[in-house]
Amino acid sequence: MAETHSLQDLRQQAAIASKVFVQRDYTSGTICKFQTKFPSELETRIDKQQFEETIQTLNNLYAEAEKLGGKSYLEGCLACLTAYTIFLCMETHYEKVLKKIAKYIQEQNEKVYAPLGLLLTDPIERGLRVVEISIYEDRSIGSR
């Protein structure tokens, strides 16, 4: 790998060569889960293991957001009792996890993907349908 890019470089100067979309995996039902199948376009760019690890972590985070457990039931019951008005005041558990996910994606982009000329897009920006990976043109950036 000749060039390493920083995130700033990518955004300012690089052009997007193509995009890869990782679709949802519905085999476990309607929960939010993405396919861990390694797209062929990324073969030259990134390690398969790394990619799968990223997707798996994302899946785990979404599973945590949608987990049915004591905490979510409590939140739901409390909301019901207050005629759901507490949603005005409180951030739901799901939202908290979404923030965590955004942070994780940002981190991954900085550490792993941007140096390889890739960029992950937070799935929430795509309606939780796909994980969009933008592949940047491989060109030398110069000193930075």
Binding site: L10, A15, I16, T30, C80, F87, E95, E110
Partner: protein, 574 residues
């Protein structure tokens, strides 16, 4: 909602205080160049109020009637019956009535004004990718374009489930998702489109809807009981029932309204309790997706947890999913190749109603390219000329753009819902509001994908057309079939009608109107149940399959189907 009004935009009539193009040298754009929020370019047939905080379906249906009936009946109850009952019985009666009334109104408003779980449409790149993936295995090398196969099969919990391709939204619909033609959106866990509530009922607002009908049944039963007691007590004191009625005529009205409502609402509540306990949607129940009508033992609901309690908890008390459409986010600055008409929206009109038939908004030209996040965070978005914009929609898509602009304090993202206390109607689920346009402060919420503008594609804007409130009276066959299927249905007063057309576009549109027949219902006469007008008949093939409704569907309705057909034609010309 007193403060919020909406206005239909007539592009020709728009006053443009400033000349149309913004010179790139202008550091501080005029207010008319203010970035648009995503709700303004939303391709579905929804209406937005309060700058995107409130979302309703295009036609409010009979929501005003529902609200009016509830308010009037409860008002009469508190004014005329409560004093007597407080004197003769207990003062707990208005208290209980008040609590129930508050619950009913709040949950009604929440059901009506909450995003039911709308799926944003695919971006052009996504749509192209899907079509490419489908074409590849088919290895079509010829120039003739074959439209993507319309279904995909997956296995969930040892059940084969077909995912259908939605031509309007250009996605393969997730399981349990259905496209509502009245709202022209794909809605997750689509239950039905309820005209009484004026909105679709889907994943995000089902619990509000359930709360509404349950509390409404309690309220009507309570009022009915109290009014009966009131009249009974009066007629004992006085000279009989007629005299009692003369003394308190309002009670008669309440009695009539409640008598007719209580049966249907109770029936509806019972039906939905059954659905909740089996983790079904009205849509699935009506279609008989999992009822094993083929006789085989293999079909069962793959989404059920096989325990009534778990199902109830999951449906009603599960985590509240966020709104995926990010109504209040700002439209990113990308100039998409498919962009078309530019409309100057005066910034003063913040509660503008943009119905997509009339406008397709172009994103600002790339020359004026402030970062969407930067511009959204302050009132005066200044372009940053030193920042060269990549041709792609990178900025829009990356949640990392939060890094480059200076980061305003994090909670800013939550500020927007707070001040909004006044305009009454309640609450929208905070999740949507958290996704306010304050991009940078809240990286999780800085969703500025170009779904709004680009994703609508050809589909969203053009076809327009009336979606037709089709008026159907349910045929007796519907009622019988429905009663047969539902274990808990109690009353014939409770009627369902739905119109299900299955055309070769495989686009399932379901509208399921619940008709809680109340006293005014007979007055309503024919328009008892507005169902959808799929109008697949107009576009493609005659509707096959189960079209059970007795009245014919309006051929002119259903812009969405016409649109799909047009798209298919366009595509085939490539």
């Amino acid at each position: 909602m007193k403060n919020c009004e909406y206005q239909q935009i007539d592009p020709q009539a728009l006053p443009t205080p400033t000349p149309t193009p913004t010179p790139p040298s202008r550091p501080c754009p005029e207010k008319t160049k203010k970035q648009q929020r995503k709700w303004e370019v939303f391709p579905g047939k929804n209406r937005f109020y309060c700058d995107g905080r409130i979302i309703v379906a295009r036609q409010s249906g009979v929501l005003p009637l529902t609200l009016g009936l509830i308010l009037v009946t409860s008002g009469l109850f508190f004014i005329f019956d409560c004093p007597f009952l407080v004197k003769h019985l207990t003062c707990g009666i208005p208290v209980i009535g008040g609590v129930l009334f508050v619950f009913v109104v709040i949950s009604l408003l929440q059901t009506s004004f909450t995003d039911p779980g709308i799926l944003p449409r695919a971006t052009p790149e996504e749509a192209a990718d899907i079509e490419k993936q489908i074409d590849n295995p088919a290895s079509s090398s010829s120039s003739s374009y074959r439209p993507p196969p319309r279904t995909k099969e997956i296995v969930i919990n040892q059940q084969v489930v077909k995912l259908k391709y939605c031509f309007t939204c250009k996605i393969f619909r997730p399981p349990r998702t259905s496209h509502c033609s009245l709202c022209d959106n794909c809605v997750e866990r689509f239950d039905h489109h309820c005209p009484w509530v004026g909105n679709c009922v889907g994943k995000r607002n089902y619990r509000f809807f359930y709360c509404f009908i349950v509390s409404l049944s309690f309220l009507t039963a309570f009022i009915f009981g109290c009014v009966t007691t009131h009249l009974a007590l009066r007629s004992q004191d006085g000279n009989g029932l007629v005299y009692a009625l003369q003394e308190s005529p309002a009670s008669a009205l309440e009695l009539v309204v409640c008598f007719f409502s209580v049966w249907s609402i109770l029936g509806l509540s019972g039906f939905h309790t059954y659905l909740v306990a089996s983790n079904l949607t009205t849509n699935e129940d009506i279609k008989g997706s999992w009822s094993g009508k083929s006789g085989s033992e293999d079909t069962g609901n793959p989404y059920s947890y096989n325990s009534m309690l778990t199902n109830c908890c999951a449906v009603l008390c599960g985590p509240m999913p966020p709104s995926l459409i990010d109504r209040r986010g700002y439209v990113p600055e990308d100039a998409l190749p498919s962009a078309t008409v530019e409309i100057q929206l005066p910034a003063a009109k913040t509660e503008v109603n943009v119905t997509v038939q009339t406008s397709k908004v172009l994103l600002e030209p790339a020359s004026r390219s402030p970062l969407p996040s930067a511009s959204s965070s302050s009132s005066s978005p200044s372009s940053r000329p030193q920042e060269k914009k990549p041709p792609g929609s990178l900025k829009a898509k990356s949640s990392l753009k939060a890094k480059s602009p200076p980061k305003p304090p994090a909670p800013a993202g939550k500020d927007s819902p707070r001040p909004r206390t006044s305009s009454a109607p309640a609450p929208l689920a905070a999740p949507e509001d958290v996704s306010a346009a304050m991009g940078p402060p809240d990286p999780a919420r800085s969703r500025q994908g170009s779904t709004g503008a680009g994703g609508g594609g050809g589909g969203g804007g053009n076809g327009g057309g009336s979606n037709g409130g089709i008026v159907n009276t349910s045929s007796p066959a519907d009622k019988r079939r429905h009663h047969h299927r539902s274990a808990k249905r109690t009353h014939s007063g409770h009627s369902h009608s739905h119109n299900h057309n299955h055309n070769h576009n495989h686009n399932h549109n379901h509208s399921h109107a619940h008709k809680p027949a109340n006293g005014a219902a007979p007055a309503l006469g024919a328009p008892q149940q507005a169902t959808l007008a799929p109008a697949s008949s107009s576009a493609t093939s005659t509707p096959t399959g189960r079209k059970r409704s007795s009245s014919s569907s309006n051929g002119t309705g259903g812009g969405s189907h016409r649109r799909e057909h047009r798209e298919a034609k366009l595509i085939s010309q490539h």
